[in-house]
Symmetry: C2
Subunit: 191 residues, 2 copies
């Protein structure tokens, strides 16, 4: 007798299990078979949802990419430049730190490119949107470099395994502080 389970639920459990195994063994070191074993299902059952591991890494990253897409749109709505920058920086730090396990995985896996390509803005569009909000529409080299260092720094350092022992709140505060210093933004008042 087999248990009939809604496909959507299996898919969710499958992605959660995959993420856990990726974090433990790396994306390279995790096979579809390992995911099936951990879930207690057949490889065919995994295969029903995802044909390749690349499809799994994309699906795992998808909610974060969607959040990032929305963040860029929301941040751009502010009237004042400073408000756009603050909205984007705070949101970006928050997103990276909440997904830090995932970010750590992708910073050493080429799968991030495939996942980013799923952005509504496209990979290049997303990069340009992030940079132009912070650096303005026609930025000089100084503004572009500062903005790039800020985003790359937040994303890569946010996922850094050496900082795994630092709690989310502290890490968020420090990443935001570093980005603000770099971009010459005043520290936010406690409200």
């Amino acid at each position: 007798m087999t248990t009939v389970e809604p496909a959507a639920d299996t898919r969710t459990r499958l992605l959660a299990t995959a993420l856990r195994l990726f974090a433990e063994h790396g994306v390279e070191g995790t096979s579809l078979q390992m995911i099936a074993d951990e879930l207690g299902v057949t490889k065919a059952a995994v295969y029903y949802h995802f044909k390749t591991k690349a499809e799994i890494t994309e699906a795992v990253a998808e909610p974060g990419i969607r959040e990032l897409d929305e963040l860029v749109v929301e941040a751009a709505k502010h009237r004042r430049h400073g408000e756009r920058v603050d909205h984007l920086l705070i949101g970006f730090v928050d997103l990276v730190v909440r997904h830090r396990v995932l970010v750590a995985l992708f910073s050493s896996d080429p799968g991030i490119d495939a996942a980013l390509a799923k952005s509504a803005h496209g990979v290049e569009g997303l990069k340009q949107a992030l940079i132009s909000i912070v650096a303005g529409p026609e930025p000089d080299v100084t503004a572009r470099v500062s903005a790039m260092v800020a985003f790359v720094g937040i994303a890569m350092v946010g996922g850094e395994p050496d900082l795994a022992e630092v709690d989310d709140e502290t890490l968020s505060r420090e990443l935001l502080g570093a980005a603000r210093k770099l971009l010459g933004r005043p520290r936010r008042r406690v409200s």
Copy 2:
């Protein structure tokens, strides 16, 4: 009749050709056969020097890693903290910008880990050495995060294809400026 050529020279030409093809087609998109064709030799001739593409990517990165090892040792020799930081930052920016094609390749290729493992300090040792010179021997979270953002930012943004049109001197100045702002180091006086 075959031309007898010193093996060392073939190896050097092979690595230069590999780097050029990597830059054009990506590491993934370059095969041993393509390298052989481009050099006008047989695949067996390539195979005589390198058994796998991974061995080639390691060999291509090796001089840069060795320079980085030396830089860390030299920077650490200064008596004053500020001098150590300046030596390391200036040297690191210079190294990244001189090797920016290579840096761009490795920032999206897992081969960087294998190459970094060849460091005399080891991957973790190298990271720790860079951070401890800048952040001091027992750094707090703020100092660690700032140092990490600075190094990751220099390395990733230095290899950024979107900045390929910016000349080396300008890029170096901007990367150094960003790192100094982040680390609270004064701008260097023109001497």
